[in-house]
Each structure stands twice: as structure tokens, then as C-alpha cells.
């Protein structure tokens, strides 16, 4: 039976999410039959998300709070929750689909040796740009940041007719300064924290993709816990996940308000513009299906959305 569980995340130390994880750790410590201490490595000190997964595979780490970008290193099925632009219209839709898909996702992860203890989202990725953007044509004249390690996204953006520049996250701000890039799709929280909004002061309120993630533990560790302990662990994790999602939705609003005070211009999405964006991205879906997102997962997400919208 494990004495100590080590968990890594990119989340910053002292953030509200870190706080929620610490509270969860305290509940785990007091869980019946366990006496397990939880060590949390924040700020990516254990490496990026892919590296965190590698460290879990060799049992240096037992857990990770990861976004879809990291979870897809375990199984690509998770991409159905985040990779298709504009497939979700509201965060309620995101939650509905996520909850419905959970049994299937949990099973896929389990087959790969991992157990998901909570799922959640941190709101929408919006588009921040140097010149105002309302329609797709406005963005096509600007150079768009795409994470270099995500070659699928790079190809997709190029195919959509955008000038995609593959770059690292750390080079984003300088890239905006030198003119290597003009636009960055990111969450308001990161736009504020990374000060991207100072160089790209226009935000399009587009529901581009949600930022989805969750807590996973290696099955080896999980299976070694007594059943009573597992129940207590799962419950504490669920609570932490709910708390983190709710807090990050609030922080998204707060970040936008704070940036507005310092000069951020927000463009609302008009219905005709929305149709244009939707037509563009839906044209890419055949390309996404079976390549970026496994076909069965792609179909299931669309089926669930039709079901929800009825």
C-alpha cells in the first residue's frame, strides 16, 4: 500500500486551484485505512505535461492534474473534449458532453493504466489580436500563434487559411513584440498572467475551444489502495474538481474585467460573424475526424450535442 503519492501540475503555487488540491490532500490524509501523504509539484517543476505523463509511466509520479494536451499523451480519445473549434456553444454543453462521455473516457484511460478522479474545465479560449478581429477574414491577415509541439493544430490552422506560426509558449510575448505573431488564441487568465493583452489588446469573445482537464492517477497506485480509501479519495477529488472549475470560471470573468480596465477592447460575436466562423471551422471537421480526434469519439460528441440541443 502506498505511503506517499506525488502529483505534478503546471498550475501555479498559491493559486486557488493549488489551494483546492491541498485541501483535497488533507482529506486524503485523513481518509480511512490510508494515512497517505500527498506531495504536489506545481509550476511545471516536474516538466511539461507530456513529461509528467512519462514520469507517471515509470512510477516516479503517481498523479497529475493535466489539460487535454497532456491527457492525450495517454489516450487520444480525450481530444474530443477540446480539439474541435466551435463545436461547443456553451460551457453547459461542455459539461453535459463530458459527463456523458466519462464512462467511455475513464475506460480508455484505465486500459492505458490510468484512473481519472475528476474532470473539469477552465472556461473558453478566446482570440487576442493586435488588430480588431470580428470575422475570419480579419484574422487571416494576421499571423497566428500555434503551439509548436501540437503538429496537428499547426496543420489544421494552415489548412483553414491562417498564417500559423509554430512557436513555444515562452516565446509568445516576444513574438508579439517583434511582429513574428499578431494573434494568440488563449484563455483570458493566461492573457492577463502572460501580459499578452498589452501587445494584443483586442479580444474576440468567441467560444473557440474550452480548456478541459482533470486529475489522473496511475492504476498501479490506485489498485493498491483499500476500497474504503478509494471511495474517500474519489469523493474528495470530485469536490476539488468542482471547486476548481467554478473558481476558474469566476477568474475568467475577473481577468477580462481587469484587462478591460487597462485598455483591452472586447468585440462581441455578432450572429452573421458567428455563422461565418462556424462555416469555416465546420469545413475542417472532416479533416479533424479520424486524424486529430478518433472517429468514434468525434461521432459520439456530435451525437451527444444533437441530443442536448433537442
Amino acid at each position: 500500500q502506498p505511503q506517499r503519492i506525488k502529483l505534478a501540475t503546471l498550475l501555479p503555487r498559491g493559486s486557488s486551484a493549488h489551494q483546492a488540491l491541498l485541501e483535497m490532500g488533507e482529506k486524503w490524509r485523513q481518509a480511512p485505512g490510508a494515512g497517505v501523504t500527498l506531495t504536489i509539484y506545481t509550476d511545471g517543476t516536474m516538466g511539461g505535461e507530456a513529461e509528467t505523463v512519462r514520469r507517471m509511466r515509470v512510477d516516479q509520479l503517481q498523479g497529475g492534474v493535466l489539460s487535454v494536451a497532456g491527457l492525450m499523451e495517454i489516450d487520444r480519445a480525450v481530444t474530443g473534449l477540446q480539439t474541435m473549434p466551435m463545436v461547443f456553444r456553451s460551457l453547459d454543453e461542455v459539461e453535459y458532453v463530458r459527463e456523458k462521455l466519462r464512462p467511455m473516457l475513464d475506460k480508455r484511460l484505465e486500459e492505458k493504466g490510468f484512473v481519472a478522479l475528476f474532470w473539469g474545465d477552465a472556461g473558453w479560449v478566446r482570440i487576442f489580436s493586435k488588430k480588431p478581429v470580428t470575422r475570419p477574414g480579419d484574422l487571416k491577415t494576421q499571423k497566428v500563434f500555434v503551439l509548436a509541439s501540437d503538429s496537428g493544430q499547426v496543420d489544421l490552422m494552415k489548412r483553414a487559411g491562417f498564417q500559423a506560426v509554430p512557436l513555444e509558449y515562452t516565446d509568445t510575448l516576444t513574438g508579439l513584440q517583434t511582429g513574428l505573431i499578431d494573434a494568440v488564441p488563449t484563455t483570458p487568465f493566461y492573457a492577463l498572467a502572460g501580459q499578452f493583452y498589452l501587445r494584443a489588446p483586442y479580444m474576440l469573445e468567441i467560444n473557440y475551444v474550452p480548456l478541459v482537464g482533470g486529475l489522473v492517477m496511475t492504476r498501479k497506485t490506485w489498485d493498491a489502495l483499500p476500497p474504503v480509501t478509494r471511495d474517500a479519495f474519489r469523493q474528495a477529488a470530485e469536490e476539488a474538481g468542482k471547486k476548481i472549475s467554478a473558481q476558474s470560471h469566476r477568474e475568467m470573468e475577473e481577468a477580462v474585467a481587469a484587462m478591460k480596465k487597462r485598455g483591452l477592447q472586447v468585440s462581441q460575436m455578432t450572429p452573421p460573424a458567428e455563422t461565418e466562423w462556424r462555416t469555416l471551422f465546420e469545413g475542417l471537421y472532416p479533416q479533424i475526424r479520424g486524424n486529430l480526434v478518433p472517429a468514434d469519439m468525434f461521432d459520439e460528441v456530435h451525437r451527444l450535442l444533437r441530443e442536448y440541443r433537442k
Partner: protein, 588 residues
């Protein structure tokens, strides 16, 4: 042998071509090469491991101590077998760790590009360490009986060390003094600590893999290749002519020439010691002819050999940017003014130490000579403009700018100056460059494994907490930092120091409200001094080697200049504006 050289030349060529093609296609057709970034990253992994194997083949892996070479006769043979056995044992354990890593990765079934599974490329890590282990055994003795003894001893170490961690650390300490490669010491300590803590040793290759496949890392082999092509072409002579024509007639002119030429070179070759080897022999006569005493000239060449470490696109700047997660461009801009400070300090000392004499016996400044020299070297002088123009002009990512610079250097040395032949010289220079990069990346990879142990054992987090609780003023922290880095500089090799110390320092420094770019420049400026301080001072060793002097003799010669440079480092530390002004100005 030929195969390895061919592989490394081919891969370096691909590293030049792929990023440039990607940039061009993006610019013109709005398309690109699918999976280009991942390909380039894994090509860097291949350069690192093959280069490391070549360095082992040539017995040129960087060592921390040269004692082993000084020992003669029986003692020398014993030191060789003992060091070789420890080094082979560590390498064999790295093979085991690598296999563990690759096996876990294989289960993930991830593809790199075009259907090639990632684990196939990752398998080059254990394969490379296996080859290195065999070659370390080969070089451990001149006879087959000696090699067999080393192999047996290596097997015994693996058994004994798993049983007694303390014994392992003592053996590694002795082996380090005997002159084993630096990566052996770092990896050995990491392996022992991970095993003692009950953690998987595969943690080390995971860190190694992450570092070497970092998307920004391909800049390092590319800029270094550009520097090597210059050094092996006729650039040293042409550049000395230029700076001599411009500054040679001034008081202390020869010192200014030495400092500027060295800085120009080091900024491309990465302070790897190439500068002293390539330029030392050419600069020494210039200094002696201008009434410098032999000792002062030796001091100047030795000290100037590390100038330029703070100028873009120097390798330590890039490495720090990667480890500390700050933009490469900010480090490049931040280093310029502090680099000028150290350059000026060297020039001032040069002016003061020039011997007495009639300055009017020398010919006056000749504009025709200067113009001819400038015209001759114009393509080489333009190289920083190409590198930085591509980067700050907004049309290239750091990797693309580095590839462009390498291509530019290749073109001017082979086509314009014709100092290098494309078919014979260029592969040789590429192999040489690969050897250096391989040696450096081996050290960095395993050093990052060691750093990961410090993170894992929460040493980093606790040290940061301790520092913020104990030291209350930022100025006191900076003073403590200077003293600490002085010791680090005396003892550690610069690349290992960056990987091991930088994450810790950034954590602590941020708690004191220090700018991470300023912190990085302080760090590198201190390590620049470390090149000149015993016992681990690369420039002292190289200068002693190049000019056939003893290390204490070189040390005596360079110490006055070291003190002057130390004053410059203090200025850089306590005047943050020197560092932060240029990056801020760009940010407007």
C-alpha cells in the same frame, strides 16, 4: 567511424534545411512541412547522442580534472583503469535506465511523424550510452588485460554501489579527481541518489530526453556550427586585421583588438574554449609586438577568451533561457550592455598594463588599410546582423534564425571566401561541431536528471523557503548570490551549473522580486569569471595547453584582469538597469 561522421553531417545539414524551408513555405504559400517541429527536435537528439559517442571514440569527453593525464607510469595506468571502470559502470547503469524509459514509452504507442513510433528514436539514448560505455572501457587502458580488468571492476562497482550508496559517492569522487568525463560524475551522483530514495532511475533519461528535444534547443547546434565554420575558415585572420586597423593605433589598442575579436568569436562558439585555441596563437604576436610583457599578454588572451559570453547568440544565454523559461530574445537583449561593461573593463586594463614606449613610432591611423580590411571581412562582420536581423525583424523563430545563420556561414566560407571545401572540409567541421555539442548535451542531460532529483526531494522548494525566511533584503540576497556563484564558478563547469542552479535561483530570485533576465545575466557573468578561477577553470587549462605554460603560471598572469572583471560583475549585479533597459525598450 565513417558512418557516425556521415550521420552527424547529414543530420546537421537537415537541421539547417528543415527550419529554413518551413519559414519560406510559411511566408510564401502559407503551408509548411507537416510535423517539422517534432522532426527537428528529434534530429537534435540524434546529434546529441551520436556526437557524444564520437567524443567518447576520440577520448575527448569534457573532464573536470586533468590529474589523470599528469600521472605517469604505474600510477597513471591504475588511475586509467579505476576511472574507466567507474565511467563504464555509470554508463552501463544509464543504459539500464534508458531501457526502462524506452520500454515505458513503447507502451504509449505514440508516433513521431509519418508513422515512425517515437520509441524507436528514443532508443538511441540507451544505444548511445552503450557505445559510450564500450569506448570508455577501450580508452581505460592500452592493453587488453587492462581493459578486461576495467570491465570486471565495472561489473563489481554496479553490484557494490547498489549495496552502499556512500561507497559509490566516494568512488565517484575519486574517479572525478582521476579525470573521468564530467557527465559520469553528474549521472553517477544522480543515479545513486534516485536509487537511494527508492525512485526509478529512468527519471534521468526522461529529463535528458526532455532537454534535448526542447523546441528551442536546435538553436544551440546551429549557432555553434556557424561559429565553427568561421573559426575553421579564414575569419580569425580577417577579423584581427579589421580590429587592428580600427583600434590598433590607439593606446592599449592591441588589448582592445584582443578583447573585441575574442568577444565576437565567443558569442558564436559558445565560450567552449574554441576562442583561445583558434585565436590565441594569432593574437599573442600582436600583443607582444605592441610592448606587452609576455605575462600580461598571456593574461589578456586567457581572460579575453571568455568575453562575449553575454553577447547574442551565445549558447549559455540560450540554455539559461530554456531552463528558466524566459524568452531567448530577452536574454539576447539583456546581455548586450553587461557584455559591453566587461569588454570595456578588459580594454581599460589593457590600456593601463601596456609597457612604456614611444607611441609616435607607430604609423598613424590609415584609413585605406582600415577600409581594405573592412571590405575583406564584410561578409563575416555581417553575420551578427543576419542572426539578429532575422530574429528581431519578425520573420523567423529562434530556431529558424539559427539555421539561417549556419547556412549563411556555410555559404560565405565555401562560396565567397573559398576557405573551406564543401566535400572535404565541411563534413570535418560538422563532425567537430557535433563532437562538442554531443559532449555538452551529455553533461546537460544528466545534469538535468540530477536537478530533477533536487525537485523530487523538494530540496528546491525548501531552499527557496529557507532563503526567503533567512534573508530579508534584496541587496543582501544579491551579495549572497555573488559569493555563492563565485564558489560555484570555482568548482563547476558552466553548462552543468546552468542546468543545476538556474531553476533554483529563478525560484528564489522571483521571491525577492528580481527580474529573471537580470538574474540570468548576473548568473552568467559570474560563471564567466569562473572560467578564470581554479580549480575548475576551463580557460586556465586551455591557455596552459595552448601556450605550453603551467596552470599556476597562467593563473598568476590572469589574476589582475580577473579582479578587474570581478568589479565589472559587481556593477552588473547592482545596476539592474544595465540589463533591463534594452529588453524594456524593445517592449515599447
Amino acid at each position: 567511424m565513417k558512418l557516425e561522421n556521415a550521420i552527424i553531417s547529414g543530420v546537421l545539414a537537415a537541421l539547417i534545411v528543415l527550419p529554413i524551408l518551413e519559414a519560406l513555405l510559411r511566408k510564401t504559400l502559407h503551408v509548411g512541412i507537416s510535423g517539422s517541429a517534432a522532426l527537428v527536435e528529434h534530429l537534435t537528439l540524434i546529434v546529441g547522442m551520436v556526437g557524444g559517442a564520437i567524443a567518447a571514440r576520440e577520448n575527448r569527453l569534457l573532464a573536470l580534472s586533468t590529474l589523470g593525464e599528469l600521472l605517469k607510469g604505474r600510477a597513471g595506468k591504475l588511475a586509467g583503469v579505476f576511472g574507466g571502470s567507474c565511467a563504464a559502470a555509470v554508463s552501463a547503469l544509464l543504459v539500464a535506465a534508458g531501457v526502462e524509459f524506452v520500454r515505458a514509452e513503447r507502451l504509449s504507442g505514440e508516433a513521431l511523424a509519418y508513422g515512425i513510433p517515437v520509441w524507436v528514436v528514443q532508443a538511441i539514448i540507451p544505444a548511445g550510452f552503450g557505445l559510450i560505455a564500450l569506448r570508455l572501457l577501450w580508452h581505460s587502458a592500452g592493453s587488453w588485460s587492462g581493459r578486461a580488468a576495467a570491465a570486471l571492476l565495472a561489473g563489481a562497482w554496479i553490484v557494490l554501489w547498489s549495496w552502499s550508496p556512500m561507497g559509490a559517492l566516494i568512488a565517484l569522487g575519486l574517479a572525478t579527481v582521476a579525470g573521468v568525463p564530467a557527465f559520469v560524475t553528474l549521472a553517477g551522483v544522480g543515479l545513486v541518489l534516485f536509487r537511494h530514495a527508492g525512485e526509478p532511475i529512468a527519471s534521468i533519461p526522461i529529463a535528458h530526453y526532455s532537454l534535448v528535444t526542447n523546441p528551442a534547443l536546435p538553436t544551440i547546434p546551429m549557432f555553434t556550427l556557424a561559429g565553427y565554420l568561421l573559426a575553421e575558415g579564414g575569419a580569425p585572420q580577417r577579423l584581427i586585421q579589421v580590429f587592428d586597423a580600427l583600434f590598433g593605433r590607439l593606446r592599449g589598442g592591441a588589448a582592445i583588438v584582443t578583447a573585441t575579436v575574442c568577444a565576437f568569436f565567443t558569442s558564436f562558439t559558445g565560450g567552449s574554449g574554441v576562442t583561445i585555441i583558434a585565436l590565441g596563437g594569432l593574437l599573442m604576436p600582436v600583443l607582444l609586438a605592441r610592448r606587452y610583457k609576455g605575462r600580461d599578454a598571456l593574461g589578456l588572451v586567457t581572460g579575453a577568451g571568455s568575453l562575449g559570453l553575454l553577447f547574442p547568440p551565445c549558447l549559455p544565454l540560450i540554455l539559461y533561457a530554456i531552463v528558466a523559461k524566459v524568452p531567448i530574445e530577452s536574454m539576447f537583449l539583456g546581455g548586450i550592455l553587461p557584455g559591453v561593461v566587461l569588454l570595456a573593463a578588459t580594454a581599460c586594463w589593457g590600456i593601463l598594463s601596456q609597457g612604456p614606449g614611444e607611441s609616435d613610432t607607430e604609423p598613424a591611423f590609415d584609413w585605406t588599410v582600415a577600409r581594405r580590411a573592412l571590405w575583406q571581412a564584410k561578409w563575416e562582420l555581417l553575420m551578427p546582423v543576419v542572426a539578429l536581423g532575422a530574429l528581431f525583424g519578425g520573420f523567423a523563430t529562434p530556431v529558424e534564425a539559427a539555421a539561417l545563420t549556419a547556412l549563411y556561414a556555410l555559404c560565405i566560407e565555401t562560396l565567397v571566401y573559398r576557405d573551406l571545401k564543401l566535400t572535404s572540409d565541411v563534413p570535418r567541421v560538422m563532425t567537430e561541431c557535433g563532437l562538442l555539442i554531443g559532449g555538452v548535451l551529455l553533461i546537460q542531460g544528466v545534469a538535468l536528471g540530477f536537478t530533477n532529483y533536487l525537485v523530487d526531494a523538494e530540496v528546491t522548494a525548501h531552499a527557496a523557503e529557507w532563503a526567503t525566511n533567512t534573508i530579508h533584503s534584496r541587496w543582501l540576497f544579491l551579495l549572497a548570490l555573488n559569493l555563492f556563484l563565485l564558489v560555484v564558478g570555482c568548482l563547476m563547469e558552466i553548462y552543468a551549473a546552468i542546468i543545476i542552479q538556474a531553476p533554483l535561483l529563478v525560484t528564489i530570485g522571483t521571491a525577492f522580486g528580481l527580474d529573471p533576465v537580470h538574474l540570468g545575466i548576473i548568473f552568467l557573468a559570474n560563471l564567466e569569471l569562473g572560467y578564470l578561477t581554479p580549480p575548475v577553470g576551463l580557460n586556465l587549462l586551455l591557455s596552459a595547453f595552448r601556450f605550453k605554460k603551467s596552470v599556476p603560471e597562467v593563473l598568476r598572469a590572469v589574476t589582475p584582469l580577473t579582479l578587474v572583471l570581478a568589479a565589472g560583475v559587481l556593477l552588473i549585479t547592482y545596476v539592474p538597469a544595465l540589463t533591463t533597459t534594452l529588453p524594456r525598450w524593445l517592449g515599447r
